[in-house]
Amino acid sequence: MMDWFWHDGHLSWPLFAVLVYTSLIVLGGDLVWRTTSGSTRKLALLVALVWLLGVVCIYGLAVF
């Protein structure tokens, strides 16, 4: 179980990737929110879905 968080003296790559990805999604979502005129709720839902899909992909790649 520790391998998900720590591996060979550094953060595990899936965890690191999720942290980076999450930060970029938040910053990117903010930028899109500011430059588009659509519904904020729809955008938040879309960003959450993209984030979830990305996290699943990262851990999927790590497992398989």
């Binding site: 003296g9 980076v20 930060s23 910053l27 903010d30 930028l31 500011r34 430059t35």
Partner: protein, 227 residues
């Protein structure tokens, strides 16, 4: 080594997120350069600065910009200011073409025609509302502070009236009575202000529709009525 790189990357992202959180709901300094001016400096934020009179230096740099302008090849009366045309009524032989400037418009005014400055008349006090009150702290009140630059031109008397709003603070004029000025020459600037009125003889009509955006020194704004 890998851990160090990971810490550096995450540290940079943490810094970016901290900046983002600190500036919410306004844009963080990281995304500001990527945004168009209205999103970069939201109106609500500018109004907050007006209340505190502590402006972001980046906004002031943006506000004080004075880009060169390309005069149109065709002759005609050019717009003295950037902004939206809000009216062009005529009264007593004079047509008043009103241009409303927003917080994001360039605020340097330019001469509409070649001519000679016959008068520069300020009225109201630069920091007061005319009734002894400091208008910077008032809201929703008409402020009479203005400067009228009168010109003698080939088409007759023309004037540019620089008017402040309650949000504005003062007017700079860069020409004096007796100066010969060229079409498109810079004549002044309203600091954080608001309205420019071009006065031309009544037979000249505004060539732009109400609500259209014009650019100082570039847009032909008025022409002699045909027939």
């Amino acid at each position: 080594m890998i851990l160090l790189i990971q810490i550096l990357v995450l540290g940079a992202l943490a810094l970016a997120l901290t900046q983002w959180l600190r500036h919410l709901p306004y844009p963080s300094p990281l995304v500001r350069p990527l945004l168009p001016s209205r999103q970069r400096w939201p109106e609500l934020q500018i109004r907050e600065w007006l209340e505190t009179t502590r402006f972001h230096p980046g906004y002031l740099r943006f506000f004080y910009r004075d880009p060169p302008r390309m005069l149109p090849e065709e002759s005609g009366i050019i717009a003295p200011a950037d902004g939206l045309v809000t009216s062009y009524d005529a009264r007593a032989g004079v047509r008043y073409i009103v241009i409303a400037l927003s917080f994001w418009d360039m605020h340097v005014q330019r001469s509409p025609l070649d001519g000679r400055v016959t008068d520069v008349t300020p009225s109201g006090d630069a920091h007061m509302d005319g009734e002894g009150r400091d208008f910077a702290f008032l809201r929703d009140k008409y402020c009479p502070v203005q400067t009228r630059i009168a010109l003698e031109t080939d088409i007759g008397p023309v004037a540019i009236r620089l008017i402040t709003s309650v949000a504005a603070r003062r007017i700079e004029t860069w020409v004096q009575s007796g100066d010969q000025i060229r079409r498109g020459q810079r004549v002044g600037r309203i600091l954080l202000g608001s309205t420019v009125v071009l006065e031309v003889p009544e037979e000249y009509v505004c060539t732009r529709e109400l609500g259209s955006h014009v650019r100082a020194g570039e847009t032909i704004l008025a022409a002699k009525a045909i027939g």
